[in-house]
Subunit: 179 residues, 2 copies
Amino acid sequence: MQNPKTLEQLSVFESLGSAETFVDRILQIVEHISLFEDFERADIEVLARYMNCYRAAAGREIIREGETSDYMLLIIEGSIEILKLDARGLPQSLGVSGPGKTLGEMSLIDGEPRFASCVTLESSVFAVLDREALTRMLTEESRVGVKILVELLTLLNQRLRGLGNELMKCRDNQRLRVR
Amino acid sequence: MQNPKTLEQLSVFESLGSAETFVDRILQIVEHISLFEDFERADIEVLARYMNCYRAAAGREIIREGETSDYMLLIIEGSIEILKLDARGLPQSLGVSGPGKTLGEMSLIDGEPRFASCVTLESSVFAVLDREALTRMLTEESRVGVKILVELLTLLNQRLRGLGNELMKCRDNQRLRVR
C-alpha cells in the first residue's frame, strides 16, 4: 500500500505486514490520546489498510535529518529519540516519543528533507503512512481522510504553539543576558 | 455566514459584506502565492461564500493576544504587524504581513486563546473565515474544504520548519555564550 521508494527506504527493517493486524493494539494505544478521540474502531480499520508495520532493533536510525522521504510513523511499541545537529554538528536531543505518538509528519506534508533524525532507544514497532497512501485515502475514503487531515492540523498546531513559546523564552533569556 | 460571536467581535470594524464581491481581488493577490497554486477561480468563488470582508483603519488591533476567537484572516489590502508580549510585558514584533498572507490560523484550528496580537499599520481590508464556516464548508463543499485543510497544513508546516530552525539558532547562540 506504499510507494516503491518508501518500501525501499524501510526495507532494512523487519516488515510486519499491513497495519490491519495491529488494529486492536492501535486502538488500545490511542484510546487515551485526545488527538484521536474522534476515531472509532471503523476509522482505525480504514486507516490501517493504508499503513504497513515494521520493527527496528535498538539504536537504529529510522529517519535521517536532511534525507528525502515522505512518510510519517505512528509508534506502536518502544521509544524513539528525536535528534537534530546543532551549529557545531553535534546531535541535540529534541525529545523522546513513545507509543501513540507520531513522527515525521512535516515531510509527509511537504516532501521536504527531514528536519531531524529519529533513533530507536529500544526495539520498536511502528506503522508507516506515506504521502501516496494519504492521497489515495483522501480519494477512496474521504471521510476518514479528512479526519486524518484535521488530526494532523491539530497536532502541527499544538507543536507550533509549543515551539512559539519556547522561542519566546529563548529570546527573553537572550535579552535579559544582553542587558 | 459566520457565527454570532465572530460577527460581534468584528462589529467594531467596517463591514464590507460577503467576500464574494472580492473574488477578482483575491485571485489577483493569490496568483503568485505558491500556497494557493491549486486554487482555481471556481474554488475561490466557493471559499468566498464562506467569508466576510472588513476594513480597519491604521493602528487598530484586529486580534488580541490571549483573547478567545476562532477565525483566521486573509489580508486583501494593507499591512498588519504581529506582536507578542515578552516576559517583561513589552510587545515584541514577530513580523509584518501583507496581501495574500493569512493570520490567526492556530485559533481557527484549536479555538485556544490567541498566541499574538495583530495590529494594522495602515488602513487594511481582510476576509474572515471562522471555524463554523470551515466546518460547514467541509460538509457542503468537501472538495474545496479538503483543499483548504491541505493549504492550512502546508502553511503550518512551513511555519513549524521556520520556527524550529529559529529555535535551534537561538539555542546554539545560548550554548556558544555559555561556553
